[in-house]
């Protein structure tokens, strides 16, 4: 669809009446003068017909009757009789009447054509206005993909002005990660197909990505040849965001249900095995070797219990929050991993500030630290430095809230930017083999429950890679945390 700007033809018929009659008079005068030319001598009415037709076309029907009358008089006076004088014989009157009827016929035909053309122009103007004022982006392009029209909606959606977009190739709007999208659409078009509500991503002039739904239809000329395509695109970013949020919420709810049922199924047998091992230890007939095996079994069982608590989360401490020293809690969480750190050749650097006490659920906070430390260790299979810092701090967003900031940093492989936004989602893991995808999700919900927040920064640049987790915990915690 070519959004040509249709110039509204200059039409005298919309002007004042006296101007129209003046112009009609002008046409007749010109016809009169032309009629004095030699070729017209034998056809006295020839140019008057033209004058009447033009008047009808340009000035409307009223002036055309006027110009008919005027022409009749002029023809009678100047041309019907040798010399210039009036003639009112019967034949003269018949001639005049014939002339007048032919004129009126011409006038009405001309008038009708003019009306039809005006209606069509009005229609086109109306369509053009609709295209221009549409909220959707409407553009047209040649079969080669060169943009030939660009409405205001397209300016808003893509950020390019009409002048910037015209003549450019549509691949201008294609994000680099989708190189085949536009060629696919163009090849469909060339085979005469439409593309309906195709959902895809485009890139704006400012580089931001937008989600759009696009419909592309082939455009044919009057002879039916395919000459290009029209595209209507709608911004569906908001809808996509809403869908994504819903998807995440549903995932969370499903996760909660799943975890609750798994926790129940696992914790009961764990309880039984724990009791059985305890009873076995009490058995006096157990020899030294048996005791050793038993002790390993107990250690492993403890690990299972630990993992169950950590990943199935839902460790909802029933007691109420108490004053805890954050640095000491972090230290005790770290102590669990001493052996692992040595094995991996990881150096731990710690920097505690004194007096980092907050009101919190100790077990849950320790679980957060434990998760973060374990992640850092997993990120450094070939050694590195684990940095732990605890300092008194303020809420970075709201300076009035005092609290404690904990930084846990590693020099590991880092997390790719595309993955960073998903880190805190349930079942998302970068550790294909060992991750459950629940650790960070649980950690985040614990931190949020304490009205704190957790942030991540990471770099994958070789030589400078690493990940930093920052946790802010407010000094005093709301009472609602207890449950």
């Amino acid at each position: 669809m070519v959004a040509v700007k249709f110039p509204i033809a200059y039409r005298v018929s919309e002007r004042s009446w006296w101007l129209r009659y003046l112009i009609a008079t002008g046409f007749v005068l010109v016809a009169l003068i032309l009629n004095f030319l030699p070729p017209a001598q034998n056809l006295p009415f020839l140019f008057f017909f033209g004058a009447v037709a033009l008047t009808a076309r340009v000035c409307g029907f009223g002036p055309s009757i006027y110009s008919t009358a005027l022409s009749a008089i002029a023809a009678d006076y100047f041309f019907l009789h040798p010399g210039t004088h009036w003639g009112f014989s019967l034949i003269d009157i018949l001639r005049m009447l014939l002339f007048a009827s032919v004129c009126l016929l011409i006038a009405s035909l001309a008038q009708q054509r003019s009306k039809a053309q005006r209606a069509s122009e009005m229609n086109q103007a109306r369509l053009a206005a609709i295209v221009q004022s549409s909220d959707d982006a409407i553009l047209s392009k040649t079969l080669d993909g060169i943009i030939t029209s660009w409405n205001k909606g397209a300016e808003r959606l893509y950020g390019y002005t009409e002048a910037e977009a015209l003549g450019k190739h549509v691949s201008l709007l294609s994000p680099p990660e989708l190189p085949n999208d536009i060629p696919m659409i163009m090849s469909k078009l060339r085979s005469g197909d439409q593309v309906q509500h195709h959902e895809t991503t485009r890139i704006r002039k400012d580089g931001t990505r937008i989600e759009i739904s696009v419909s592309v239809s082939p455009v044919h000329d009057l002879a039916g040849n395919l000459i290009g395509a029209s595209t209507i695109a709608r911004d569906i970013t908001a809808r996509k965001v809403a869908e994504e949020t819903l998807r995440k919420t549903e995932k969370l709810a499903a996760t909660g249900r799943l975890a609750a049922s798994i926790a129940h199924e696992i914790n009961n047998p764990l309880e039984a095995v724990t009791n059985l091992l305890y009873l076995l230890r009490k058995n006096p007939s157990l020899d030294e070797k048996g005791r050793k095996h038993l002790s390993f079994a107990e250690q492993e069982l403890e690990r299972v219990a630990h993992i169950s608590k950590q990943t199935l989360g839902f460790y909802r401490q029933v007691s109420s929050p108490s004053r805890i020293d954050v640095a000491r809690t972090l230290e005790s969480a770290l102590s669990v991993y001493t052996h692992k750190l040595e094995g991996r050749n990881i150096r731990a650097e710690t920097k505690w500030e004194s007096g980092t006490e907050i009101q919190a659920l100790a077990g849950e906070i320790r679980q957060v630290f434990s998760n973060l430390i374990a992640n850092s260790i997993d990120a450094m299979p070939r050694g590195g430095t684990l940095t732990l810092k605890v300092s008194k701090s303020h809420d970075w967003g709201n300076g009035n809230r005092r609290g404690v900031r904990v930084v846990i940093a590693d020099t590991g492989s880092g997390i790719a930017p595309a993955q960073q936004s998903k880190l805190f989602e349930p079942f998302f893991t970068t550790k294909r083999d060992v991750g459950t995808g629940l650790g960070l999700w649980v950690s985040k919900s614990i931190v949020q429950k304490h009205e704190g927040f957790i942030q991540v920064r990471s770099s994958v640049r070789p030589g400078k890679s690493g990940t930093v987790f920052s946790v802010f915990l407010p000094e005093s915690k709301p009472a609602s945390v207890a449950a």
């Binding site: 914790n267 029933v318 434990s370």
Partner: protein, 136 residues
């Protein structure tokens, strides 16, 4: 020291049975039940010093049974234990009705359970009944 009498209620027989055996090792008389109803039926006849009871069970919940037992025998010690998250909600509901209970989370180390039962738990907090999340 007076010999204790304890009721153990859990819908998983292996859990109830192993706890009874552990109690027996310590010279404590125990009676096992697999539902809150069964436990309530026998409660007045046994007149226990303490009840160790699961929270989430088919039929009447451990918390509802515990409230009823408290009514009948205010001095009886009730220790609830649970492997489920919904416990916290049930407890909140009980708390809103004025009932406070000690709750341990499964799995509980037998040492911790015994300490709780015999009353020589030094911390006094329920949190000490948990498996340590990150210690050892």
């Amino acid at each position: 020291m007076k010999k204790l009498t304890v009721m153990v209620v859990d819908d998983e027989p292996v859990v109830a049975d192993t706890i009874l055996e552990i109690l027996k090792e310590e010279g404590i008389d125990g009676f096992g039940f697999s539902s809150g109803h069964a436990a309530l039926n026998w409660f007045s006849r046994i007149n226990p010093d303490a009840v160790i009871m699961d929270v989430v069970m088919p039929g009447i919940s451990g918390i509802a049974a515990a409230i009823e037992m408290r009514k009948q025998s205010p001095n009886c010690r009730v220790i609830l234990f649970s492997g489920q998250t919904s416990t916290a909600d049930l407890l909140n509901e009980a708390r809103s009705q004025g009932h406070q209970f000690e709750v341990l989370e499964k799995p509980i180390k037998p040492e911790v359970l015994l300490a709780q039962l015999l009353g020589h738990n030094d911390s006094g907090g329920v949190a000490s009944g948990q498996w340590p999340v990150a210690s050892d």
